[in-house]
């Protein structure tokens, strides 16, 4: 079972109290973008075995969105952080690096 700490309300939230929001840190390509960029924005998703960054919503709770970094193989949670960022903050990356040396995710490492 996955338990995430919501950074907005500070509660330890069970997976069943949350709504999964899919992959984190997507760049939106909208009107005027190339077909391949738009296709990538719509359909191309990571499916890693290991470090992953996701969006979650505290749906049975404060109702706010947040980000989570976890390992898809072990369900280990590296941390949760604000939704108002476009990439994981350094302290989260440091935790991931300490626990999974050599990790990569999209163009992050």
């Amino acid at each position: 079972m996955l338990i995430l700490s919501c950074p907005n309300c500070g509660e330890l939230k069970d997976e069943t109290e949350l709504s999964a929001g899919g992959e984190a840190h997507l760049t939106r390509f909208g009107p005027g973008s190339s077909d391949s960029d738009f296709e990538g924005y719509l359909f191309n998703r990571e499916n890693p075995k290991g470090v992953h960054f996701e969006r979650w919503r505290c749906s049975s709770g404060c109702g706010k969105w947040f980000h989570a970094a976890r390992c898809t193989a072990t369900n280990e949670v590296f941390g949760t952080y604000s939704a108002q960022v476009t990439e994981p903050p350094q302290e989260i990356r440091d935790v991931v690096s300490a626990k999974r040396p050599g990790w990569t995710w999209r163009d992050l490492s």
């Binding site: 907005n8 309300c9 509660e11 069970d14 069943t16």
Partner: protein
């Protein structure tokens, strides 16, 4: 709003309608109008719902006057003050074990005054622990019968191996 009582291993009571006012805005602004409780707690008649939302409770007949007073204090700020009394049902549960069966919350470690928004079986709810160790729970009135059903079912039998 039907008041009703279930007596089993624990007692569940649906309480008469209570005045409830949703107050939303920046917490520093809201502090001008209400005494803001600490995150995840209920203090007096005010509960902390989220980083930008408070729930103010009062006797039902005082809702109008309360809203006028709150709005007067919040003039000039970006805020919302709305009467949600009709949207809510409120229950009193004598024993935390009943809630522990239905909510993914460590109820046994809740202190009096602790306020937790979560789910009750399949519906959204919020509950808090009172000084006497009993709990009050609010949910949407549209699902009050569902809440009554699961609460009274859970309250019917004790959980012997967890007691004490």
């Amino acid at each position: 709003m039907s008041e009703r009582v279930f007596e089993g291993a624990a007692t569940v009571r649906q309480l008469p309608q209570r005045g409830m006012i949703t107050v939303r805005g920046d917490m520093t602004d809201l502090a001008k109008a209400v005494k803001v409780p600490a995150q995840g707690t209920v203090a007096g008649n005010v509960a902390w719902m989220s980083p930008d939302e408070l729930l103010v409770m009062c006797p039902h007949e005082e809702v109008g006057a309360q809203i006028d007073a709150l709005r007067a204090k919040l003039i000039g700020t970006h805020h919302l003050v709305e009467d949600v009394s009709d949207a809510r049902a409120i229950f009193e549960i004598s024993d935390g074990e009943t809630l522990a069966k239905l909510c993914p919350v460590d109820v046994a470690r809740m202190e009096p005054g602790r306020f937790r928004r979560t789910r009750l079986a399949q519906i959204a709810c919020a509950f808090w622990k009172k000084e006497d160790g009993s709990f009050e729970l609010v949910c949407f009135s549209s699902v009050a019968d569902y809440a009554w059903g699961v609460l009274s079912n859970a309250a019917a039998t004790p959980v012997a191996h967890f007691s004490g």
